[in-house]
């Protein structure tokens, strides 16, 4: 074990990675896959407030505020407006409110997860749960790569615009000018990543030490209980 003072202390309010994953799953199950009515809306709102509180607690005030506005607007519109809408307009309306009140909480929670969770903290937490390394390593790479893919695809977009290649044209051309360069750069980055990982001794089996201190704290209990209570209430009501 490394010395305690060498371990990274929580800079902001940090939850255990396992708590974050648990919260994501709970929000996912309750908000995404159900269709609330009446009193259930209150429980759903309480659960939807979890990502908001988390964002604010890490100082991402702007994102938290935008999320709150989007969710409340979507939910209100879903309750009061969709009943009056019909036809194509109604379909569009339902689609938009569904996206806002159902999809946005999960996306925001996943955004928070990716933004605040260090890959090594994630690995440490998963190892604590005795998940096989054959699942942990690809998953860690996956987490690291979603932002990279977004970044690279933005850069490719810029490059293609400079060459005057837009999104018009056949779908095959889009594949050739967007997907192929993207995959080339991703594969290159992947090769570098494997070299770096091997250099850092990822090949070594056996117990590993970690710079992140993993453990449940008061905040884990608060958020865990908050979300669990909301979820239980949701299914009782």
């Amino acid at each position: 074990m490394p010395q305690p003072e060498l371990m990274k202390a929580a800079k902001d309010i940090q939850l255990d990675p396992r708590t974050k994953i648990y919260l994501l799953l709970l929000i996912n199950i309750v908000i995404f896959s159900t269709n609330p009515s009446g009193c259930q809306l209150i429980a759903k709102g309480a659960l939807a407030a979890v990502p908001f509180a988390l964002l604010c607690s890490t100082g991402m005030w702007r994102q938290g505020f935008i999320y709150a506005v989007l969710y409340v607007a979507g939910q209100l519109a879903e309750i009061y407006l969709t009943a009056y809408a019909a036809g194509a307009w109604g379909l569009l309306m339902r689609f938009t409110t569904q996206m806002l009140s159902r999809f946005v909480p999960i996306v925001i929670m996943a955004y928070y997860l990716v933004r605040t969770m260090e890959v090594s903290a994630f690995i440490a937490a998963m190892e604590r749960m005795h998940v096989s390394r054959k699942i942990i390593i690809p998953f860690a790479v996956l987490f690291r790569f979603f932002p990279t893919i977004a970044e690279e695809s933005c850069a490719i977009n810029d490059a293609m615009r400079m060459r005057g290649i837009g999104f018009r044209g056949s779908p095959l051309a889009v594949l050739e000018y967007r997907l192929v360069p993207l995959m080339m750069s991703i594969v290159g980055i992947g090769n570098e990543l494997s070299a770096a990982a091997v250099t850092r001794g990822l090949r070594i089996t056996g117990e590993r030490t970690n710079i992140y201190k993993i453990g449940f704290g008061v905040l884990d209990a608060v958020f865990g209980l908050w979300a669990t209570t909301a979820a239980i209430l949701f299914f009782i009501l």
Partner: protein
């Protein structure tokens, strides 16, 4: 040549290609809000993902990589609210695809095509609730998307549609695989990536 054990490099490759595959799947998923496309979604995925999958297969030399990819995709689908069926189908299709590729020693092109056909069927797992829990599923869709959408979707969901979907997905996967091979030849081999 087939290697015996999974290496860290293999596992990293699995992670990278799963990421690309899933991003393309999300792109295809946006089509799902047009009623016909929410049923034909597996075809679009099979067509689009041929390119990354064929490139992935050129770097696959070990048994287990395709299985892990299937499981990871299933877990991702579950995490994004598509139900747990995807994990089961991901494991099943991944394992079968892996076995097929192993029979071809991870270099026979014919085996690779069949492997991709089998692998592409995993995504049907995210749609299985439509068939298995038809009544409750459509009640939910009716509440969520309105009667018009649910009606046009429900008329498409029949037993033979599932069979047709499986066959069509396999056909799309063959096209996707050949598309992938063409792109591979045209770009990746020239660039020295393979």
């Amino acid at each position: 040549m087939t290697k015996k054990k999974l290496d860290v490099k293999d596992l990293i490759n699995v992670g990278i290609f799963t990421a690309i595959y899933y991003i393309l799947l999300i792109v295809a998923g946006f089509l799902g809000y047009i009623p016909i496309f929410s049923v034909l979604f597996p075809l679009v995925v099979a067509l689009l993902c041929g390119i990354p999958f064929v490139l992935f297969l050129t770097r696959t030399k070990t048994f287990g990589m395709i299985t892990i990819m299937g499981v990871l995709l299933g877990i991702l689908n579950f995490a994004f609210g598509q139900g747990w069926y995807s994990i089961a189908t991901g494991l099943l299709c991944g394992l079968l695809a892996d076995l097929i590729c192993k029979a071809g020693e991870y270099k026979s092109w014919k085996h690779m095509v069949v492997c991709f056909c089998v692998f592409s069927e995993w995504i049907i797992g995210s749609m299985l609730p439509m068939w298995i829990m038809k009544d409750s599923y459509f009640e939910m869709v009716r509440d969520m998307q309105g009667i018009a959408f649910a009606g046009s979707l429900e008329s498409l969901i029949t037993g033979w549609m599932l069979v047709l979907l499986i066959v069509l997905t396999a056909v799309a996967a063959v096209i996707g695989a050949y598309l992938g091979k063409t792109v591979l030849k045209k770009h990746f081999i020239r660039a020295g990536i393979v």
